[in-house]
Symmetry: C2
Subunit: 119 residues, 2 copies
């Protein structure tokens, strides 16, 4: 049985906005991603999504406020709530959410990642 070292996993890829699967338990997935720039507005009909910042800073824009996450902070986006992640500088994040959760939620675009790579 293998432990997961986040630093080692982050060293394995460079793409932004392409979540990688690093763990699964009880129907939920642990995913990591590197983010830089602005993502798109979207929501998830049925799924809640936890974002934790491992390195850098992530702003999660919501309809009525911005949530700014620093290292060691997390935020849970409730189901159905529109959100738009923005990282001015490269940010490394960890997510907890169902494996089936599409990164772009209700929106299909060139940024949609249909099949996650497992690291």
């Amino acid at each position: 049985m293998e432990k997961v070292n986040l630093r080692e996993k982050f060293a394995l890829f460079d793409e932004y906005w392409s979540p990688k699967l690093v763990g699964e338990l009880s129907g939920q997935s642990v995913k990591i991603a590197k983010l830089k720039g602005e993502f798109i507005w979207h929501h998830h009909e049925a799924e809640e999504e936890l974002f934790m910042v491992i390195k850098g800073r992530l702003t999660i824009k919501l309809p009525e406020e911005d949530v700014v996450l620093e290292e060691g902070e997390f935020f849970i986006v409730p189901r159905g709530v529109e959100h738009k992640p923005v990282a001015e500088e490269e940010a490394h994040i960890l997510m907890f959410e169902p494996k089936s959760t599409l990164n772009t939620g209700n929106v299909r675009s060139e940024r949609t990642v249909e099949t996650l790579e497992t690291l």
Copy 2:
């Protein structure tokens, strides 16, 4: 909607081996705990349990090996697998598991925490 700062949450309590609830999503809970010393051998019949080290070092003893987790590392204990967490020095950990998961699993002892405090 509130973000969670792990450092601030850890500053709110001193007890060891007493998990605190800091988030919930999709039937799963995010819990934190301070650990020091040896816990008891136990398993969880139906639940998988993720341990991530935020500060310090945690050894998860398994029947046939020890998994040593440093900061930024996590391990998922499969359901039914006996395990015993040990922290020689104070360790701060984050757990991801169902809210209903009892800290001592199949064992009831003086270390069982029936009702989690929410921070």
